[in-house]
Amino acid sequence: MTALLPATILFLPLLAAAKILLLPKPMKGLAPAVSVGSVVLTLILSLVLWAKTGSDSTTVTLGSWINLGDMLQLNIGFKINALATGMMLVVTFIGTLVHLFSLAYMKDDDGKARYFAGLSLFMFSMTGIVLADNLAMMFIFWELVGVSSYLLIGHWFEKNSAAEAAKKAFLTNRIGDFGFMIGILMLWKATGSVTFDGIESAVRGMTVDPGWLTAAILCIFCGAVGKSAQLPLHVWLPDAMEGPTPVSALIHAATMVAAGVYMMIRVSFLLALPDAATAAHVIAWTGGLTALFAALCATQQNDIKKILAYSTLSQLGYMVMAVGLLAKEAAFFHLFTHAFFKALLFLGSGAIIYACHHEQDIWKMGGLARKLPRTTLTFLIGTAALIAVPFVTSGWYSKETILHAAHAHGGLLFYIGAGTAFLTAFYMTRLCVVAFLGTPRAHGADHAHEVPKIMLLPLVILAVPSVIGGFSFFAGRFLTLPPADHDHASHVPMIASLIALASGVSLGWLLYRGRDRDPVRISLLARKFFIDELYASLVSWGQDAVARIIHYVDILIIDGLGVRGLSGLAAVVGGGLRRLQGGNLQAYGFLFGCGVVVLLFIALSLH
């Protein structure tokens, strides 16, 4: 296979973004068309790529990015296998729908051209991550998705909250990338390669120092922690909801945040090494704790997008946990199904927000089921998939595989997973009951009306894979399903998740049916365990205060002692010399004479 096809898929969105940027002002109206055109084309090309690849795995190199002879070669190359093509389909499919949805959602926005340029830039960067055959190239695009995410979260940059959220997202990701880079360097140091294939063959051929390996894996995992918003770098994701809702659906639900999981799956051969058991353990626990933590937070949020954001965190936690449990197929399976139903939920929430005149508080909605029946229906399908309604939804199958893996692994993680499933069912029921049932509690919801067709269309399209995405006849075409060994598997996970689902839904129903105000108030959860506050004070008291102190020290000591000391010395010496330069000609004459004599003596003594 030549590099032409993947290269086209990669660079088409970049060309679109550049073209939008270079469009002259009067033609900025063409921006959406350019962007949508490019994304549709990449979807088609991705399908071609998927069809051509099948179950092969090939690596092709497009060209050299940095060429330092045999010292260092960083290439732009593509590792194309079923994983990559499957991910590409997810990205381009959801990308296309989000572009379509945005056409309506952003119709009246002033910065439409900027928005679509950002979307195209994102598609470019995400494609780069998916197709990259080496860590360096992945890191490049890793940073670039960060930028496009920054641009899109900060789309409404005049809003202080959006500006802050964009900054926060970028900086938090930077912290993760810091670790990622160290991990890349450590792996390069140990194996002499940055390509996945090179590293894989190297670690199979030799033993890497276990400590070094564990540290390297955990450092790489830092990148995933940042991008996939795992504890403790999760804080940016809920704030990222300041961005336009389609962006939240595409970037902060379906694709970019899954990039961390995807990356860990790409390097999962490292986790499978016997020496990496500790690292895998840490990863699994990080995922599990994030899942539980985020689900707890979600139960007390009132902003519809925040609830969904925390649920995203929680589901990502599942995936990361699966990666840590060495069940990479399960992780990718869940990534795949989650992408559809979470995109559906986000676009659905976008439609709701749009219909309710930009109202995001669920307590100011209510009775929407009657006002927006079709939107409600698709939203409910998404919810069903998320809370894993058995047998008929995609989420059920993928979540089941993860719980199976956790159960097989044994220990506490399985119970955490089950508990999270219960919480998921509970908070989603709360959301649906409060928003869709009852009577409108505010003006916006009262005057809500069904959204335009172009917004509804993506919802309907997404509802299909949300349902059938988990069935093996569908999913099996796009990805490697986890080995099905139902004969030997215990039924404990299935029973546990059924119990969790039933109890969660009924508890939610009982608590929230017919309420106008939240009957439960747990400020610890509503305030997200005060982690934001903790970080804020850490930044302001730790970093900023230290920075200010150091600033003064810099002025006082270095500038003070250094420069003042230097100039002080100069002043003393100068003062001494000044006495000599009294302007008295005779003194000059005397000194001149002395100089002559001294010089004479020197000249004589030299002979």
């Binding site: 060429n67 802050e164 930077r174 140091k189 970093q543 920075a547 150091i550």
Partner: protein, 492 residues
């Protein structure tokens, strides 16, 4: 003769401006001509060949010791010439057509003299003129800050004069010691390199001379703790001077380290204690100054500090003593030169329109000045090392290089220093984005300053920097292919 013309044109233009030619037009014409000639030199340069090309001896000053004004470029100096040509073109575009006080002729003539001095320092193949041309560029710099600066310009001018004067003096002492210890018969850099290889000095002598050179060059580059002249000087300097000094003249010290100190003192530069000192200092640059930068509330001071901080990465590349790191350092020098010049240019635009650069006075500027916002964003992203822009490639190579040498008998500190330096990438993102956030995003605070959008000339100026940054971000090999053979020849 192309290279000689590169020096002579700005000199002639300076004389013409002083004599009464239209100031802005003449300096612009000289800058454009120089840029064209630089492109011609790039065309004429044969990539991959070792040694000086386009070499010429203009005149012999002394037959013995061998001292002559001769020019020539290898890949390394050609890159610096290109940088000088680009930044001086930008600076010429950014120079005003009227000045509030003082003489416009003096202003433009000084800018041209700085350009000529920088060009001369980079194309000279003679140690003496290498030094002398840099001094030629420094003097108008001091003058300009004192005469045309803003804010507390007198203090700033005195500080930079004393500091850089002292630095030059120490440098001179180091160079003299180097010259004498290598036989004292020639100033020709190529012959000195040969002499250093055939009759190496004792390791101890080398270490001491290297330390002297490191301090001398270090003061010029604002190596921690000799940095405190830089932020204030840049904050007070007129825009073209800040662009030229931060963009080009500061790189002279690094160029000197790469071209003179490392190849002539191979043992001295690798002796453990000198290396440890260097690592300590460069971490000071990155972490200490990084924190100080975070504390800044004014754009010009922040940029001044950030330019000090970024020198740390280049020093890390030099300290790595590995070809990867050295190549990365050169790429970073080039990229940083362009990005900081662009930032100072935009800072100048904001300052001249608003009269202040304090963050509290701004907000949401991207709304009223979208071009400015875009260019500033690109420059910020470049300087915090985002892929797609040249700085990232340079930083990446520096880190790879510094990490590479862990096993090659390098000191234990090197990997740790690399990791600590990597944290600097996070810090630069913190201050870069904070500045962007406070000035261009969010709601305007009380009493906001208004800044008009970039004019076409302004946009053109910015593009002089942005285009090469993007080009090298996507295709770093363009520059690496030039630099690598030269560095390989210099550092064996």
């Amino acid at each position: 003769m192309i290279l000689a013309a590169l020096i002579v044109i700005p000199l002639l233009a300076a004389v013409a401006v002083a004599a009464g030619a239209p100031a802005r037009l003449t300096s612009l014409a000289a800058a454009v001509l120089n840029a064209v000639l630089t492109v011609a030199a790039l065309m004429a340069f044969k990539t991959g060949e070792v040694g000086y090309q386009l070499a010429a001896t203009l005149f012999t000053v002394l037959p013995s010791p061998d001292l002559k004004l001769s020019v020539g470029v290898d890949g390394l100096s050609l890159v610096m010439v290109l940088l000088t040509a680009l930044v001086s073109l930008g600076a010429a575009l950014a120079s005003p057509s009227t000045v509030a006080r003082g003489s416009l002729r003096l202003y433009h003539a000084s800018v041209l003299l700085i350009t000529a001095g920088a060009m001369g320092a980079f194309v000279s193949t003679d140690l003496f003129f290498f030094y002398a041309f840099h001094e030629l560029a420094l003097i108008p710099t001091f003058l300009m800050i004192g005469l045309f600066g803003t804010g507390d310009r007198r203090t700033a001018a005195w500080k930079i004069t004393i500091y850089l004067g002292l630095g030059s003096l120490i440098l001179l002492a180091g160079l003299a010691a180097l010259f004498l210890n290598l036989g004292g018969t020639t100033f020709d850099m190529a012959k000195l390199t040969v002499a250093a290889q055939t009759t190496p000095m004792a390791a101890g002598t080398q270490s001491w001379i290297f330390l002297t050179l490191l301090i001398g060059f270090g003061i010029l580059i604002s190596l921690f703790p000799f940095h405190s002249w830089a932020p204030q000087a840049y904050a007070c300097a007129p825009t073209p001077v800040a662009m030229l000094h931060a963009g080009v003249l500061k790189k002279f010290g690094l160029y000197g380290l790469l071209k003179v100190a490392l190849p002539l003192l191979p043992l001295g530069s690798q002796s453990a204690w000198v290396l440890n000192l260097l690592l300590f200092a460069l971490l000071g640059n990155i972490l200490w100054i990084g924190l100080v930068t975070i504390a800044q509330r004014e754009l010009d001071l922040m940029l001044g500090h950030s330019s000090v901080m970024h020198m740390g990465y280049i020093f890390l590349g030099i300290a790595s003593h590995h070809l990867i790191g050295l190549t990365g350092a050169v790429l970073l020098m080039f990229a940083h030169g362009l990005s900081i010049a662009l930032l100072f240019f935009l800072n100048g635009v904001i300052r001249s329109a608003a009269g202040t650069t304090h963050f509290d006075r701004f907000g949401g500027l991207a709304k009223q000045a979208p071009r400015l916002g875009l260019m500033f964003g690109l420059a910020t992203f470049a300087s915090i090392g985002l892929p797609g822009l040249a700085n990232f490639s340079g930083e990446l190579l520096v880190f790879f290089g510094a990490f590479k040498n862990v096993a090659a008998g390098g000191t234990l500190w090197l990997p740790l220093a690399t990791i600590l330096a990597l944290w600097g990438v996070v810090m630069s993102a913190v201050y870069g984005l904070r500045a962007y956030r406070s000035i261009f995003m969010g709601q305007p605070g009380a009493n906001p300053a208004t800044v008009p959008d970039l004019t076409t000339t302004g946009l053109l100026t910015a593009l002089v920097f942005v285009i090469p940054l993007l080009l090298l971000g996507f295709f770093p090999n363009l520059l690496l292919d030039l630099v690598r053979p030269a560095l390989a020849a210099l550092h064996g």
